[in-house]
Assembly symmetry: C2
Homo-oligomer: 344 residues x 2
Amino acid sequence: MRAAVIHGAGDVRVEQVPDPVLSEPTDAIVRVSLTCICGSDLWPYRGMGEDQPSSRIGHEFVGVVEETGSGVSGLRAGDLVVSPFTWSDGECTHCREQLFTSCVNGGLWGSAGSDGAQGEAVRVPHAEGTLVRLPVEHDDASLPALLTLADVLPTGHHAAVSAGVRPGGTATVVGDGAVGLCGVMAARRLGAEQIIVMGRHTARTNLAVELGATHVVPERGDDAVEHVRELTKGAGTHSVLECVGTGDSLRTSLRLARDGGRVGYVGVPQDGEGVDVRELFGRNVGLAGGVCPARAYIPELLPDVLYGKIDPARVFDRETDLDGVPAGYTAMAERESLKVLVRP
Amino acid sequence: MRAAVIHGAGDVRVEQVPDPVLSEPTDAIVRVSLTCICGSDLWPYRGMGEDQPSSRIGHEFVGVVEETGSGVSGLRAGDLVVSPFTWSDGECTHCREQLFTSCVNGGLWGSAGSDGAQGEAVRVPHAEGTLVRLPVEHDDASLPALLTLADVLPTGHHAAVSAGVRPGGTATVVGDGAVGLCGVMAARRLGAEQIIVMGRHTARTNLAVELGATHVVPERGDDAVEHVRELTKGAGTHSVLECVGTGDSLRTSLRLARDGGRVGYVGVPQDGEGVDVRELFGRNVGLAGGVCPARAYIPELLPDVLYGKIDPARVFDRETDLDGVPAGYTAMAERESLKVLVRP
């Protein structure tokens, strides 16, 4: 079969790879119906992080179960499923507390020895603990929206939950990428009254406003802090959703928070510069978040996606097939495209 | 009148100072019945932090209202009151959200131009927003316990709340000082099932066990992390109450947290070494806390103190009069005394 493989910075190729086969009784093989490219795929594409050997890439997919191992009873061939961006056994001490990303048997698509989602098919370890059946037809028009349940929508939601967004509260969303836009949707869905989006890409901030943002702050750093304070009677916002992942962005986020407020961060931290807690202590500003346990949020978010209460498919602004994946990376890296939908 | 004044590291003297007088309509004058020495008083006493000119010191007191300004209607002469360790107007944007420590008109006893609590009387700005009347007689035996509402008890409670202690959860309390012991009481009160106290002062850890700790970990750093993991099936605890205030202690606390857990820190951070969020991201460990808005917690904690459900007076292991204050500092700085009660 064919799949995308990353060989190094800027070098994603679509290649012939071995067909996936069941190797454990808890496995399933899933034919990929839809996948997409994530902002976090761009970190290795940009050569950030440690050097890695060539590996499969992509971690978001909706697909159809083709085959299941002997230990899988809750899924069968023909089921349409969405996979969160990590697999998990559903049974360990962390899974029982809904923190599926810390599963003792868990892993991330595209990590060493695993399949990536940007391909024709995937071997899913711990299929029953991982996959969620979708109650729609295989060609339902909502599939792109449902694909966002794999990562980008729950990640925006995780930022909002971690930042303590509550009805009537105020929120700043730092970042106008796909996660930031999902953060705007999530903040609105959780009842925030004032939602400030920070970004300077006009098409994206316009979309943010359509999705629920009440104000746009194009500045960064000190100027952004000043602008947000102007919009909040000098106080900052109760919640700040950090959806970028740089040290600068995180430090700005902490300053944007109102005293007693909370920053929910979901951008993968790209540098090691620390946070000085002395700046937070006197103001009681908290910090929470991290890698999103998407599997935990899918049951809550699925109905709202299914019934159109939120339309996260709006983050997709380009569509391609598997051959178009390398060009998709280029388009996203150059910020020509917000998020690329892939139909293998 | 007489009051304690700190002139520099190791130099606390009891001196003649001007009697307090009403200077604003919102002031009250309170005659101090009971005060005490706080672990945070030891930071300037040890010469840590910036050099300050001589100033009044002490920030915890129970006392009797002697006189009120024309703008004070809810208090009158003769009322027995407890003061939180900061004053606040009760009306500003932060006070309305119960974050009294961020009051725009607030301040800390002993800061420049204010009275300290370790003296015979205190001018209380914004008396009505600050003081809480106590429904007992002036010589009630519960007064030392009620005095802990000024700071140490709510601060331990703030650590527990910030760390997300919940019924059936697990908690580690880092530090066996008076705040740590109040953290143990608070964690138990909030329903934690396993409460590990970290400390190496046997008399204090024994007291912690009497107050609700289920395990004692005398180690520090790596060894402490290993010991706590042994006690928690390798996972760490859901909540960690950081009650020390050094960078080492904070970093250890973050490592003690279970994945998905939270550190509530209330120890005044004494060094600027940062927290590297990359160590927290993958494990979804959050950080919250800061200077405790004691005023917010007094209404909740008061009944439990009054009716003996918790007995925070156990943190006092020495009693003196005003003349004994300098010796009290020495005893606490040398860890001979846990917390010194002062009857001016």
